[in-house]
Protein backbone atom coordinates (compact mmCIF):
# COMPACT_ATOMS: atom_id res chain seq x y z
CA UNK A 1 0.00 0.00 0.00
CA UNK A 2 1.33 3.40 -0.93
CA UNK A 3 2.35 5.71 1.82
CA UNK A 4 4.63 8.48 2.90
CA UNK A 5 7.69 8.55 5.09
CA UNK A 6 8.83 11.94 6.34
CA UNK A 7 12.42 12.15 7.54
CA UNK A 8 12.95 14.89 10.10
CA UNK A 9 16.38 16.06 11.20
CA UNK A 10 16.48 17.97 14.48
CA UNK A 11 18.81 19.45 17.06
CA UNK A 12 18.40 16.35 19.22
CA UNK A 13 18.06 13.46 16.84
CA UNK A 14 16.18 12.14 13.83
CA UNK A 15 12.50 11.29 13.67
CA UNK A 16 10.65 9.27 11.07
CA UNK A 17 6.96 10.00 10.51
CA UNK A 18 4.93 7.53 8.49
CA UNK A 19 1.41 7.38 7.14
CA UNK A 20 -0.62 5.61 4.49
CA UNK A 21 -1.68 7.39 1.31
CA UNK A 22 -4.55 9.13 3.11
CA UNK A 23 -2.03 11.02 5.25
CA UNK A 24 -4.48 11.45 8.10
CA UNK A 25 -2.89 9.36 10.82
CA UNK A 26 0.82 9.53 11.48
CA UNK A 27 3.19 7.43 13.53
CA UNK A 28 6.32 9.03 14.94
CA UNK A 29 9.41 6.88 15.36
CA UNK A 30 12.44 8.23 17.16
CA UNK A 31 14.58 9.76 18.26
CA UNK A 32 17.24 8.04 16.25
CA UNK A 33 20.71 9.20 17.33
CA UNK A 34 19.15 10.96 20.34
CA UNK A 35 21.12 13.95 21.51
CA UNK A 36 22.97 14.52 18.24
CA UNK A 37 22.42 17.28 15.72
CA UNK A 38 20.92 15.68 12.63
CA UNK A 39 21.31 18.26 9.93
CA UNK A 40 19.83 16.14 7.17
CA UNK A 41 18.50 12.74 6.21
CA UNK A 42 17.57 11.73 2.73
CA UNK A 43 16.43 8.55 1.04
CA UNK A 44 17.50 7.23 -2.32
CA UNK A 45 15.04 7.64 -5.15
CA UNK A 46 16.40 4.42 -6.65
CA UNK A 47 15.89 2.50 -3.41
CA UNK A 48 13.61 4.25 -0.90
CA UNK A 49 14.72 2.00 1.93
CA UNK A 50 18.27 3.28 1.55
CA UNK A 51 18.55 6.37 3.74
CA UNK A 52 21.59 8.42 4.65
CA UNK A 53 21.86 10.58 7.77
CA UNK A 54 24.29 13.31 8.73
CA UNK A 55 24.93 13.15 12.47
CA UNK A 56 27.04 15.87 14.04
CA UNK A 57 28.16 17.11 17.40
CA UNK A 58 30.43 19.87 18.59
CA UNK A 59 31.99 17.28 20.87
CA UNK A 60 32.45 14.34 18.55
CA UNK A 61 32.44 15.81 15.07
CA UNK A 62 30.83 14.31 12.00
CA UNK A 63 29.31 10.85 11.81
CA UNK A 64 27.40 9.42 8.86
CA UNK A 65 24.84 6.63 9.04
CA UNK A 66 23.16 4.53 6.41
CA UNK A 67 19.99 2.50 6.67
CA UNK A 68 19.06 -0.26 4.27
CA UNK A 69 15.63 -0.91 5.77
CA UNK A 70 13.87 2.43 5.73
CA UNK A 71 15.33 3.69 8.98
CA UNK A 72 14.61 0.72 11.21
CA UNK A 73 18.31 -0.03 11.69
CA UNK A 74 21.42 1.99 10.96
CA UNK A 75 25.02 1.27 10.14
CA UNK A 76 27.81 3.74 10.83
CA UNK A 77 29.69 4.44 7.60
CA UNK A 78 32.74 6.52 6.74
CA UNK A 79 33.14 9.98 8.23
CA UNK A 80 36.49 11.05 6.82
CA UNK A 81 35.84 14.03 4.57
CA UNK A 82 39.21 15.57 3.83
CA UNK A 83 39.68 18.41 1.41
CA UNK A 84 41.76 17.44 -1.58
CA UNK A 85 45.05 19.21 -2.23
CA UNK A 86 45.95 22.66 -1.01
CA UNK A 87 43.05 23.85 1.12
CA UNK A 88 43.79 27.52 0.62
CA UNK A 89 41.70 30.22 2.25
CA UNK A 90 38.33 31.90 2.02
CA UNK A 91 37.36 35.17 3.68
CA UNK A 92 36.43 35.31 7.34
CA UNK A 93 33.77 37.61 8.77
CA UNK A 94 36.35 40.34 9.30
CA UNK A 95 37.56 40.14 5.70
CA UNK A 96 40.79 38.33 6.60
CA UNK A 97 41.86 35.10 4.88
CA UNK A 98 40.77 31.99 6.77
CA UNK A 99 41.82 28.41 6.00
CA UNK A 100 39.13 25.98 4.90
CA UNK A 101 38.13 23.80 7.86
CA UNK A 102 35.65 20.93 7.67
CA UNK A 103 32.86 21.31 10.22
CA UNK A 104 29.82 19.29 9.18
CA UNK A 105 27.66 17.87 6.42
CA UNK A 106 24.65 20.09 5.80
CA UNK A 107 23.00 18.15 2.99
CA UNK A 108 23.09 14.65 1.56
CA UNK A 109 21.84 14.11 -1.97
CA UNK A 110 21.64 10.52 -3.21
CA UNK A 111 22.10 9.90 -6.91
CA UNK A 112 18.85 9.50 -8.81
CA UNK A 113 19.90 6.09 -10.12
CA UNK A 114 22.51 4.52 -7.84
CA UNK A 115 21.76 4.07 -4.12
CA UNK A 116 25.48 3.75 -3.37
CA UNK A 117 26.30 7.12 -4.93
CA UNK A 118 25.67 10.16 -2.76
CA UNK A 119 26.76 13.78 -2.79
CA UNK A 120 27.42 15.69 0.42
CA UNK A 121 27.40 19.46 0.82
CA UNK A 122 29.57 20.55 3.70
CA UNK A 123 30.76 23.47 5.79
CA UNK A 124 33.28 24.98 5.04
CA UNK A 125 31.77 24.96 1.59
CA UNK A 126 32.69 22.02 -0.59
CA UNK A 127 31.04 19.07 -2.26
CA UNK A 128 32.03 15.47 -1.64
CA UNK A 129 30.75 12.20 -3.04
CA UNK A 130 30.73 8.57 -2.10
CA UNK A 131 30.33 5.79 -4.62
CA UNK A 132 30.51 2.96 -2.11
CA UNK A 133 27.45 3.66 0.03
CA UNK A 134 29.28 5.93 2.41
CA UNK A 135 32.37 3.88 3.16
CA UNK A 136 34.68 6.48 1.63
CA UNK A 137 34.20 10.09 0.57
CA UNK A 138 36.09 12.09 -2.03
CA UNK A 139 35.95 15.81 -2.62
CA UNK A 140 35.10 17.26 -6.03
CA UNK A 141 37.71 19.99 -5.56
CA UNK A 142 36.89 21.97 -8.66
CA UNK A 143 34.14 23.79 -6.79
CA UNK A 144 36.23 24.92 -3.82
CA UNK A 145 39.03 25.78 -6.20
CA UNK A 146 36.71 27.90 -8.32
CA UNK A 147 38.55 31.13 -9.03
CA UNK A 148 36.25 33.01 -6.69
CA UNK A 149 36.74 30.67 -3.71
CA UNK A 150 39.19 32.94 -1.95
CA UNK A 151 36.47 35.62 -1.85
CA UNK A 152 33.70 33.47 -0.37
CA UNK A 153 32.56 34.65 3.03
CA UNK A 154 30.36 32.76 5.51
CA UNK A 155 26.81 33.77 6.28
CA UNK A 156 25.64 33.87 9.87
CA UNK A 157 25.19 30.10 9.81
CA UNK A 158 28.66 29.42 8.46
CA UNK A 159 30.14 28.92 5.01
CA UNK A 160 27.77 26.10 4.21
CA UNK A 161 26.96 24.27 1.01
CA UNK A 162 23.33 23.55 1.78
CA UNK A 163 21.65 22.79 -1.54
CA UNK A 164 22.43 20.12 -4.12
CA UNK A 165 20.10 19.57 -7.09
CA UNK A 166 20.63 16.82 -9.64
CA UNK A 167 19.28 17.28 -13.15
CA UNK A 168 17.20 14.17 -13.98
CA UNK A 169 17.79 14.65 -17.71
CA UNK A 170 21.54 15.18 -17.56
CA UNK A 171 23.60 13.26 -15.04
CA UNK A 172 26.53 15.63 -15.57
CA UNK A 173 24.58 18.73 -14.53
CA UNK A 174 24.46 19.59 -10.83
CA UNK A 175 23.37 22.79 -9.12
CA UNK A 176 24.61 23.78 -5.67
CA UNK A 177 24.20 26.80 -3.44
CA UNK A 178 26.44 28.23 -0.76
CA UNK A 179 25.69 30.77 1.91
CA UNK A 180 26.99 33.40 1.34
CA UNK A 181 28.80 32.78 -1.94
CA UNK A 182 25.86 32.09 -4.24
CA UNK A 183 24.76 29.42 -6.69
CA UNK A 184 27.00 27.34 -8.94
CA UNK A 185 26.48 24.80 -11.71
CA UNK A 186 28.59 22.08 -13.20
CA UNK A 187 27.88 20.59 -16.62
CA UNK A 188 30.63 17.98 -16.51
CA UNK A 189 29.81 16.01 -13.37
CA UNK A 190 31.68 18.22 -10.94
CA UNK A 191 35.06 18.96 -12.50
CA UNK A 192 34.35 22.53 -13.53
CA UNK A 193 31.86 24.91 -11.96
CA UNK A 194 30.30 28.15 -13.07
CA UNK A 195 28.94 30.84 -10.76
CA UNK A 196 25.31 31.39 -11.75
CA UNK A 197 24.33 34.57 -9.95
CA UNK A 198 23.59 36.96 -12.79
CA UNK A 199 20.54 38.99 -11.90
CA UNK A 200 20.74 38.57 -8.15
CA UNK A 201 20.74 41.86 -6.27
CA UNK A 202 21.99 42.02 -2.72
CA UNK A 203 21.88 45.39 -1.02
CA UNK A 204 24.92 44.70 1.10
CA UNK A 205 27.13 44.14 -1.97
CA UNK A 206 28.23 47.43 -3.54
CA UNK A 207 28.77 45.86 -6.97
CA UNK A 208 25.35 45.12 -8.51
CA UNK A 209 26.98 42.63 -10.86
CA UNK A 210 29.04 40.81 -8.24
CA UNK A 211 29.78 37.27 -9.38
CA UNK A 212 29.74 35.89 -5.83
CA UNK A 213 28.80 37.04 -2.34
CA UNK A 214 25.06 36.44 -2.56
CA UNK A 215 23.35 34.83 0.41
CA UNK A 216 21.31 32.16 -1.32
CA UNK A 217 19.11 30.39 1.21
CA UNK A 218 17.67 27.62 -0.92
CA UNK A 219 16.97 26.58 -4.51
CA UNK A 220 14.30 24.22 -5.86
CA UNK A 221 13.57 22.61 -9.21
CA UNK A 222 10.78 20.54 -10.71
CA UNK A 223 12.11 17.43 -12.46
CA UNK A 224 9.89 17.99 -15.51
CA UNK A 225 11.42 21.44 -16.05
CA UNK A 226 15.04 21.03 -15.02
CA UNK A 227 16.09 24.35 -16.53
CA UNK A 228 13.67 26.29 -14.34
CA UNK A 229 14.98 27.11 -10.89
CA UNK A 230 13.32 28.87 -7.97
CA UNK A 231 15.43 30.55 -5.32
CA UNK A 232 14.74 31.95 -1.88
CA UNK A 233 17.54 34.41 -1.39
CA UNK A 234 18.28 36.20 1.89
CA UNK A 235 15.87 38.81 0.57
CA UNK A 236 14.03 38.24 -2.72
CA UNK A 237 12.40 35.21 -4.28
CA UNK A 238 14.00 34.63 -7.66
CA UNK A 239 13.49 32.53 -10.77
CA UNK A 240 15.69 31.38 -13.61
CA UNK A 241 14.44 29.88 -16.88
CA UNK A 242 17.86 29.05 -18.27
CA UNK A 243 19.56 26.81 -15.74
CA UNK A 244 20.67 29.67 -13.54
CA UNK A 245 22.40 31.74 -16.18
CA UNK A 246 20.02 34.61 -15.51
CA UNK A 247 17.70 35.31 -12.59
CA UNK A 248 14.74 37.62 -12.17
CA UNK A 249 12.66 38.50 -9.17
CA UNK A 250 9.24 36.91 -8.59
CA UNK A 251 8.53 38.18 -5.06
CA UNK A 252 5.40 39.93 -6.33
CA UNK A 253 2.78 40.42 -3.63
CA UNK A 254 4.52 38.46 -0.85
CA UNK A 255 4.17 40.23 2.52
CA UNK A 256 7.95 39.94 2.90
CA UNK A 257 10.40 38.34 0.52
CA UNK A 258 12.81 37.25 3.24
CA UNK A 259 12.73 33.56 4.09
CA UNK A 260 14.59 30.30 3.86
CA UNK A 261 12.57 27.53 2.19
CA UNK A 262 11.27 27.22 -1.34
CA UNK A 263 9.80 24.14 -2.98
CA UNK A 264 7.83 23.10 -6.05
CA UNK A 265 4.60 21.10 -6.32
CA UNK A 266 5.23 17.49 -7.35
CA UNK A 267 2.89 17.58 -10.36
CA UNK A 268 2.66 21.28 -11.26
CA UNK A 269 6.02 22.76 -12.24
CA UNK A 270 4.67 26.31 -11.97
CA UNK A 271 3.28 25.89 -8.46
CA UNK A 272 5.79 27.14 -5.90
CA UNK A 273 5.76 27.39 -2.11
CA UNK A 274 7.60 29.73 0.27
CA UNK A 275 7.24 30.65 3.93
CA UNK A 276 7.76 34.40 4.32
CA UNK A 277 9.74 35.43 7.39
CA UNK A 278 9.59 38.97 8.73
CA UNK A 279 13.21 39.99 8.25
CA UNK A 280 16.82 39.05 8.69
CA UNK A 281 16.74 40.76 12.06
CA UNK A 282 13.56 39.03 13.22
CA UNK A 283 13.49 35.43 12.13
CA UNK A 284 9.81 34.78 12.70
CA UNK A 285 6.60 35.07 10.67
CA UNK A 286 5.05 38.53 10.20
CA UNK A 287 2.56 39.39 12.96
CA UNK A 288 3.13 36.00 14.59
CA UNK A 289 1.00 34.30 11.91
CA UNK A 290 2.59 31.26 10.34
CA UNK A 291 1.73 31.24 6.65
CA UNK A 292 2.73 29.35 3.56
CA UNK A 293 2.44 31.27 0.30
CA UNK A 294 1.71 29.48 -2.93
CA UNK A 295 2.07 30.73 -6.47
CA UNK A 296 0.36 28.76 -9.22
CA UNK A 297 1.84 31.03 -11.86
CA UNK A 298 5.52 30.38 -11.32
CA UNK A 299 5.88 33.43 -9.12
CA UNK A 300 4.77 37.04 -8.71
CA UNK A 301 1.16 36.17 -7.83
CA UNK A 302 1.03 34.57 -4.40
CA UNK A 303 -1.87 33.36 -2.30
CA UNK A 304 -1.83 33.01 1.46
CA UNK A 305 -2.37 29.49 2.80
CA UNK A 306 -3.54 29.68 6.38
CA UNK A 307 -6.07 26.93 7.10
CA UNK A 308 -4.76 24.91 10.00
CA UNK A 309 -1.69 27.06 10.63
CA UNK A 310 -1.21 29.20 13.76
CA UNK A 311 -3.24 32.40 13.61
CA UNK A 312 -1.24 34.23 16.27
CA UNK A 313 1.65 34.07 18.69
CA UNK A 314 3.84 31.96 16.43
CA UNK A 315 7.45 33.06 16.52
CA UNK A 316 9.27 30.12 14.98
CA UNK A 317 11.39 30.02 11.87
CA UNK A 318 11.39 27.49 9.03
CA UNK A 319 14.96 26.63 8.08
CA UNK A 320 16.22 26.21 4.55
CA UNK A 321 16.04 22.42 4.20
CA UNK A 322 12.83 22.03 6.19
CA UNK A 323 10.23 21.85 3.41
CA UNK A 324 9.45 18.93 1.12
CA UNK A 325 6.71 17.48 -1.06
CA UNK A 326 5.44 13.98 -1.71
CA UNK A 327 4.29 12.79 -5.13
CA UNK A 328 0.90 11.36 -4.22
CA UNK A 329 -2.26 12.77 -5.75
CA UNK A 330 -2.95 15.37 -4.43
CA UNK A 331 0.54 16.53 -3.67
CA UNK A 332 1.52 16.48 0.00
CA UNK A 333 3.50 19.42 1.34
CA UNK A 334 5.47 19.29 4.60
CA UNK A 335 7.53 21.73 6.60
CA UNK A 336 9.16 21.82 10.02
CA UNK A 337 9.74 24.73 12.38
CA UNK A 338 12.40 25.71 14.83
CA UNK A 339 9.73 25.18 17.48
CA UNK A 340 9.55 21.48 16.68
CA UNK A 341 6.28 21.31 14.76
CA UNK A 342 5.90 19.43 11.50
CA UNK A 343 2.98 20.73 9.45
CA UNK A 344 1.52 18.70 6.61
CA UNK A 345 -0.98 19.32 3.87
CA UNK A 346 -2.43 16.43 1.89
CA UNK A 347 -4.10 18.74 -0.62
CA UNK A 348 -1.34 20.84 -2.15
CA UNK A 349 -1.40 23.37 0.67
CA UNK A 350 -5.10 24.16 0.99
CA UNK A 351 -5.38 22.67 4.46
CA UNK A 352 -2.71 22.04 7.07
CA UNK A 353 -2.34 20.19 10.31
CA UNK A 354 0.48 19.54 12.73
CA UNK A 355 1.58 15.92 12.44
CA UNK A 356 4.22 16.41 15.16
CA UNK A 357 4.10 19.17 17.73
CA UNK A 358 6.89 18.94 20.23
CA UNK A 359 10.02 17.79 18.49
CA UNK A 360 13.36 19.55 18.99
CA UNK A 361 14.37 22.42 16.71
CA UNK A 362 13.90 21.12 13.16
CA UNK A 363 16.70 21.46 10.65
CA UNK A 364 15.39 19.40 7.75
CA UNK A 365 12.32 17.66 6.38
CA UNK A 366 12.37 15.18 3.51
CA UNK A 367 9.26 13.37 2.28
CA UNK A 368 9.50 9.98 0.62
CA UNK A 369 6.62 8.57 -1.37
CA UNK A 370 6.56 4.83 -0.84
CA UNK A 371 5.23 2.33 -3.39
Amino acid sequence: MAGVRVLVGTHKGAFILTSDEKRKDWQIDGPHFGGWDIYHLKGSQADPNRIYASQQSDWFGQVVHRSDDGGKTWETVGNELSYKGDTGTHLWYDDTPHPWEFKRIWHLEPSLTDPDHVYAGVEDAAIFETRDAGATWQELPGLRQHGTGQHWMPGAGGLCLHTIILDPTDSKRIYIAISAAGAFRTDDGGTNWKAINQGLRSEYIPDPNAEVGHCVHHVAMHPDKPGVLFMQKHWDVMRSDDGGDNWYEISGNLPTDFGFVVDVHAHEPETVYVVPIKSDSEHFPPDGKLRVYRSRTGGNEWEELAKGLPEKDCYHNVLRDAMSVDSLDSCGVYFGTTGGQVYASADSGDNWKAIASDLPRIYSVEAQTLP
Binding site: W36, W59, F60, G61, Q62, N79, E80
Partner: protein, 98 residues
Protein backbone atom coordinates in the same frame (compact mmCIF):
# COMPACT_ATOMS: atom_id res chain seq x y z
CA UNK B 1 44.61 -5.03 29.85
CA UNK B 2 43.94 -1.30 29.53
CA UNK B 3 40.57 0.03 30.62
CA UNK B 4 39.04 2.93 28.69
CA UNK B 5 35.95 4.82 29.77
CA UNK B 6 34.00 6.58 27.04
CA UNK B 7 31.34 9.31 27.11
CA UNK B 8 27.72 8.31 26.64
CA UNK B 9 27.39 9.11 22.95
CA UNK B 10 30.56 7.29 21.98
CA UNK B 11 29.49 4.24 23.96
CA UNK B 12 26.30 4.19 21.94
CA UNK B 13 28.14 4.71 18.70
CA UNK B 14 30.54 1.87 19.40
CA UNK B 15 27.78 -0.26 20.98
CA UNK B 16 29.78 -0.87 24.16
CA UNK B 17 29.24 -0.50 27.88
CA UNK B 18 30.71 2.11 30.17
CA UNK B 19 34.22 0.71 29.84
CA UNK B 20 36.12 -1.20 27.21
CA UNK B 21 39.24 -3.26 27.72
CA UNK B 22 42.07 -3.18 25.23
CA UNK B 23 45.36 -4.91 24.64
CA UNK B 24 48.02 -2.30 24.00
CA UNK B 25 51.35 -3.29 22.50
CA UNK B 26 54.48 -1.54 23.81
CA UNK B 27 54.55 1.54 26.02
CA UNK B 28 51.15 2.57 27.28
CA UNK B 29 50.65 6.14 26.06
CA UNK B 30 47.63 8.19 25.09
CA UNK B 31 48.47 7.65 21.44
CA UNK B 32 48.85 3.89 21.87
CA UNK B 33 45.59 3.59 23.76
CA UNK B 34 43.65 5.64 21.22
CA UNK B 35 45.25 3.76 18.33
CA UNK B 36 44.15 0.49 19.90
CA UNK B 37 40.69 1.86 20.64
CA UNK B 38 40.14 3.03 17.05
CA UNK B 39 41.52 -0.21 15.63
CA UNK B 40 39.02 -2.18 17.65
CA UNK B 41 36.13 0.22 17.09
CA UNK B 42 36.63 1.91 13.70
CA UNK B 43 33.37 3.86 14.10
CA UNK B 44 35.17 5.98 16.69
CA UNK B 45 37.69 7.27 14.17
CA UNK B 46 37.36 11.01 13.86
CA UNK B 47 35.13 11.34 16.92
CA UNK B 48 37.85 11.73 19.55
CA UNK B 49 40.68 13.12 17.44
CA UNK B 50 40.96 14.48 13.95
CA UNK B 51 41.36 11.92 11.18
CA UNK B 52 44.41 13.57 9.69
CA UNK B 53 46.15 15.63 12.36
CA UNK B 54 45.16 13.28 15.21
CA UNK B 55 44.61 16.36 17.37
CA UNK B 56 42.18 15.93 20.25
CA UNK B 57 38.76 17.39 19.53
CA UNK B 58 38.36 20.68 21.36
CA UNK B 59 35.48 19.66 23.64
CA UNK B 60 37.05 16.40 24.82
CA UNK B 61 39.64 15.85 27.57
CA UNK B 62 41.72 12.88 28.68
CA UNK B 63 41.82 12.01 32.37
CA UNK B 64 43.31 9.25 34.51
CA UNK B 65 44.07 8.90 38.20
CA UNK B 66 42.49 12.29 39.00
CA UNK B 67 44.83 13.99 36.52
CA UNK B 68 44.01 15.95 33.40
CA UNK B 69 46.33 14.46 30.80
CA UNK B 70 44.88 16.35 27.86
CA UNK B 71 47.87 18.59 27.36
CA UNK B 72 50.52 15.95 28.01
CA UNK B 73 52.51 14.74 25.00
CA UNK B 74 50.66 11.93 23.24
CA UNK B 75 53.71 9.70 23.58
CA UNK B 76 54.23 10.32 27.30
CA UNK B 77 53.72 7.20 29.43
CA UNK B 78 50.36 7.03 31.14
CA UNK B 79 50.30 6.47 34.93
CA UNK B 80 51.35 3.00 36.10
CA UNK B 81 47.85 2.38 37.45
CA UNK B 82 46.45 2.75 33.91
CA UNK B 83 49.12 0.51 32.44
CA UNK B 84 48.32 -2.08 35.10
CA UNK B 85 44.59 -1.89 34.46
CA UNK B 86 43.83 -0.64 37.97
CA UNK B 87 42.52 2.71 36.77
CA UNK B 88 40.73 3.62 33.53
CA UNK B 89 41.87 6.04 30.89
CA UNK B 90 38.91 8.40 30.64
CA UNK B 91 37.75 10.25 27.54
CA UNK B 92 35.56 12.99 28.94
CA UNK B 93 33.18 15.31 27.12
CA UNK B 94 33.18 18.93 28.23
CA UNK B 95 30.13 19.73 30.29
CA UNK B 96 27.99 22.29 28.53
CA UNK B 97 24.29 22.88 28.35
CA UNK B 98 21.95 23.36 25.45
Amino acid sequence: MIRVRLPYHLRNLAKVGSEVELEVEGPVTSRAVLDALEARYPVLRGTIRDHVTLERRAFLRYFACQQDLSLEPMDAPLPDEVAAGDEPFIVLGAIAGG
